[in-house]
Symmetry: C2
Subunit: 237 residues, 2 copies
């Protein structure tokens, strides 16, 4: 091993990987107990420490516990989901309709993480060639929160089957603010051992080795040792 003065201790490192591997997109296992405010504050602080293009920090956090607001969002979900279900027919359609895809009302709170596309003025450092890097930054905040939540024993589920324009109206967002992630959050009865869609037979994890390339799309990794290390790691997960 090369000098690793900056590496974490074994247990700290294990904590990071455990959060990554045991994090789930929770839909069906929420318990109604409220999240303590000190804990929620830690999660928001974790999200707020995500990297952002030009240190833009384009995110905002809407902590939603109103039953009325959640019911309106849920109505929107039902409509969008009915529209989505039309794309699947026969057996696949029946399977789609059996999937539970959100916990908007079951979870004790929802969190909307938004992206203000105008924060930081007209020219944001690093956001010139790729304009969507503000949205990308906001996603990094989502993942910080998701992993910290797992470490705290809190489940998070991302509901993407909502119309962002409608969500913006319900939440009174200014025109420049995009509701990027609508999350359901709460304690859970259980974190599933693998992703729900995998358990339901909808889609399986792809072999990592097939997703790793070298110095170009058509090239294998230049170092054969990397290919071998990936095989070794994924054979004994």
């Amino acid at each position: 091993m090369i000098d690793d003065a900056h590496a974490f201790s074994e247990t700290e490192r294990a904590g990071v990987y455990r959060a990554i591997f045991e994090r789930r997109d929770v839909r069906a296992q929420f318990r109604p107990d409220p999240i303590p405010p000190e804990l929620l504050a830690r999660l928001l602080e974790a999200a707020h420490h995500a990297p952002s293009v030009g240190f833009m920090q384009p995110w905002d956090f809407l902590v939603i516990d109103s039953r009325d607001i959640r019911e309106r969002v849920h109505q929107g979900f039902l409509r969008e989901n009915a529209r989505a279900a039309e794309h699947y027919c026969g057996e696949q359609g029946a399977r789609y309709r059996r999937l539970k895809l959100e916990g908007i009302l079951d979870s004790p709170m929802n969190l909307c993480i938004t992206c203000d596309r105008e924060r930081g003025g007209e020219h944001v450092l690093g956001r010139n060639s790729m304009l969507d890097t503000d949205l990308f930054s906001t996603c990094l905040a989502v993942q910080n929160l998701w992993l910290a939540a797992r470490a705290e024993g809190i489940g998070v589920g991302w509901v993407s089957i909502v119309d962002p324009a409608e969500l913006g109206e319900i939440l009174g967002l200014p025109p420049s603010v995009y509701p990027l992630a609508y999350l359901c959050m709460g304690y859970v009865s259980d974190f599933l051992d693998r992703p729900e869609l995998s358990r339901a037979g909808w889609r399986q994890r792809l072999p990592l080795s097939e997703r790793v390339h070298g110095n170009g799309w058509q090239a294998p990794p230049a170092e054969e040792a990397l290919t071998l290390a990936i095989d070794e790691l994924t054979r004994h997960p």
Copy 2:
């Protein structure tokens, strides 16, 4: 504290928060030592365990160590950066030009994380109302890798000042594959104590309390206890 049977141990939890708070966007501190293949495999596996819309897993990983490829990407960076610099004049322009914004050639390897916008076919579960959720999923993979890298003592820097179309050509990407994140990776001499743009006086961290809302953009958090907890947490970071 409410039942937290699923929460991590104190040290594992500390590891997760440490990765979140001590992660940096590294540009200037890279050392040339190569990353061991077993370690890189762990980072790719961490990225591959990100959540994705409809379990789409739209990402691919290009492990780039060729000097020639990196020099071409670097040339593209120089051109895009000169274009970006034109937006800043006077003192701000001088400050912009002094910033080191990438470590493409200083780091021992670059990693391009891409998003295949057609993976999973025409209809991907959950990607109906918000089409960019495939890009968002890929960002979550980036953040998994970034945090695992920090735990392993590896620095990562995201170069967003590149033209994605040019990058796609250099790397031979198929038309449906978008080069979302071009990352520089390697051991570092040092992880800075705060973000480089903050140290350089370019932009500072926003107060978290001002970014947290309640049941709508105009509403404060419904629970005053949350506001107090955020004040407490950010007063003693």
